[in-house]
């Protein structure tokens, strides 16, 4: 566990509520620097919420989230925006700007945040597109691409500013086996080539674990497991086993939390 000596992100005792519903009941976790961390767990366990908390789009009720030593939930607006330039996010839907071409989408953060001239921007954009294997598609519009390609373009956009970390929100959802393989390889390759800290949120357990160095499993409002994939597979914990084996019954209940039926009736 030497990797935890150098955590890039530290989550400490975070409690978070949405409306009146408790999402996190005091969670703590670490994301090691330069590694691929998988955040797994059943749907609705608040995996995406954790990404939003790290990105500062949501503020925890209590507890702290530190990214590279900075407490995200206490940053001023301007500092937060500076920090976000060091983060790349790949959203579930890709979130490409529909009215801009592939090239302009990738060039967008460069045009807004840098003073580079057009030739240099062109060079950088084509390099990033090359990295995701879509340099030939630079003049297409997003709606002309398949879902997997859209995600790869979004990935090129997310790494346009050479961030130190990148967060993937459900990158493998709805992919055919080939597209999935391409994305998996890409995540792995980018992590090594750019020395990124990567966080992959997913419930595709097998695929995600195959590339992850570190796993955080969320369930029932707490961190159910944290450690290496090997340790996870060897865990005796019933919750972890239920999730790994996909059994319908176990500590993760089939029912959405509610008062007992007799009390309501």
């Amino acid at each position: 566990m030497s990797e935890l000596l150098d955590p890039f992100i530290t989550v400490e005792n975070v409690v978070f509520r949405r409306e009146r519903r408790l999402i996190y009941d005091g969670i703590s976790a670490h994301v090691p620097r330069g590694k691929i961390t998988a955040i797994v767990g059943p749907s609705g366990a608040g995996k995406t919420t954790l990404l939003r908390l790290i990105g500062g789009q949501l503020i925890p009720g209590s507890g702290d989230i530190k990214v590279d030593g900075l407490v995200v939930n206490q940053l001023k607006r301007k500092q937060l925006f500076e920090l976000r330039k060091r983060m790349g996010v790949l959203f579930q839907s890709g979130a490409l700007f529909g009215e801009l071409s592939v090239f302009d989408n990738v060039a967008f953060p460069l045009r807004v945040h840098t003073e580079l001239d057009d030739d240099l921007i062109r060079l950088v954009v084509l390099m990033k597109l090359e990295a995701v294997g879509l340099r030939g598609a630079f003049d297409l519009m997003p709606y002309e691409l398949s879902g997997g390609m859209q995600r790869r373009v979004a990935l090129a956009r997310a790494i346009a500013l050479d961030p130190e970390m990148i967060m993937y929100d459900e990158p493998f959802v709805g992919q055919d086996p080939i597209g999935l393989g391409v994305l998996l390889a890409l995540v792995k390759r980018l992590n090594q080539a750019l020395d990124l800290t990567s966080i992959v949120v997913s419930h595709d357990l097998k695929e995600t674990l195959s590339i992850a160095d570190h796993v955080i499993m969320m369930a029932n409002r707490v961190v159910a497991f944290e450690g290496t994939p090997q340790a996870m597979r060897g865990s005796e914990d019933r919750l972890v086993q239920q999730f790994l084996n996909g059994s319908p019954d176990g500590p993760v209940s089939f029912h959405y939390s509610a008062p007992p039926l007799l009390e309501v009736v």
Partner: protein
């Protein structure tokens, strides 16, 4: 009984918090400082989208409303032998009322709903969140240019609507029904005052523009991010904006022309 009271209180509080959020969004979009100053090309893009693209519907509606006013006015005025006053009637109804109000209603339906749907779609497809995560404030980047474009475009559209309407009235009155062109225009010029009628009409139009665009961008920005949420918010934009226009129009007319 207390339950009802509680529900009324709850509804009032939620409305109030909606209004507060809408105000915050507006304030941040309009007055928040931007590092790069005003994004001129974004503004121009939006003026094109909400202004230029609304031009055809405004011109056609203006022409027909002017022509209908001409026909209807003529059949009434001819009973009193004062059909020369047709120009006056057409021009006054257009500059004071129909111009600003109908333009704003059409604008709410054409551009307002599009604004809501566009911003809503950007929210649903996580484009707004993605902007935020790129360190770009979506209020400044997405909402502010759309807001200003609306405020600039609607008064211009209103001017065009009134002008085309007056020409439409003249077309029917002079070319078709045979009113003397000199007396038609002279009557119009004698009774329409630039400051009291045209300028007041424009003031109305600017106020409608502020309100309609505000409602549209707020509904888009604050909707529930599903496709159903977009549909509902778009409907709400048109309904709320139309009600706001008509209500405000009564109030403004009372202040401007009602002698209060």
């Amino acid at each position: 009984m207390l339950g009802y009271l509680q529900r009324i209180g709850l509804a009032a509080l939620s409305q109030l918090s909606n209004l507060g959020r809408a105000g915050l969004i507006l304030a941040q979009a309009v007055f928040g400082r931007s590092r790069a100053g005003i994004h001129w090309h974004l503004l121009i893009d939006q003026v094109y989208a909400v202004g230029v693209l609304s031009l055809s519907i405004i011109i056609v509606s203006g022409l027909f409303i002017g022509m209908v006013l001409g026909l209807q006015g003529y059949t009434i005025l001819v009973n009193y032998g004062s059909e020369q006053a047709l120009g006056q009637m057409v021009a006054l109804s257009l500059t004071r009322e129909l111009g600003p109000v109908v333009t704003a209603l059409l604008f709410a339906g054409r551009a307002g709903s599009a604004l809501t749907a566009e911003i809503g779609l950007m929210k649903v497809t996580e484009q707004l969140a993605s902007l935020e995560m790129m360190g770009i404030d979506p209020l400044r980047r997405v909402v502010a240019p759309r807001f200003w474009a609306g405020v600039i475009s609607l008064p211009i559209l209103s001017l065009i609507f009134v002008s085309v309407g007056c020409l439409g009235g003249a077309l029917v009155g002079v070319s078709w029904l045979g009113i003397d062109s000199g007396s038609f225009w002279a009557n119009m010029q004698a009774s329409v005052s630039f400051y009291d009628d045209v300028v007041n009409g424009m003031i109305k139009s600017v106020i409608f523009a502020l309100v309609v665009t505000w409602i549209a961008v707020y509904q888009g920005f604050d909707l529930i991010p599903t496709s159903e949420g977009i549909a509902r918010a778009t409907t709400r934009t048109v309904v709320y904006a139309s009600l706001a226009i008509l209500g405000l129009d009564f109030f403004l007319t009372a202040v401007m022309f009602g002698g209060i």
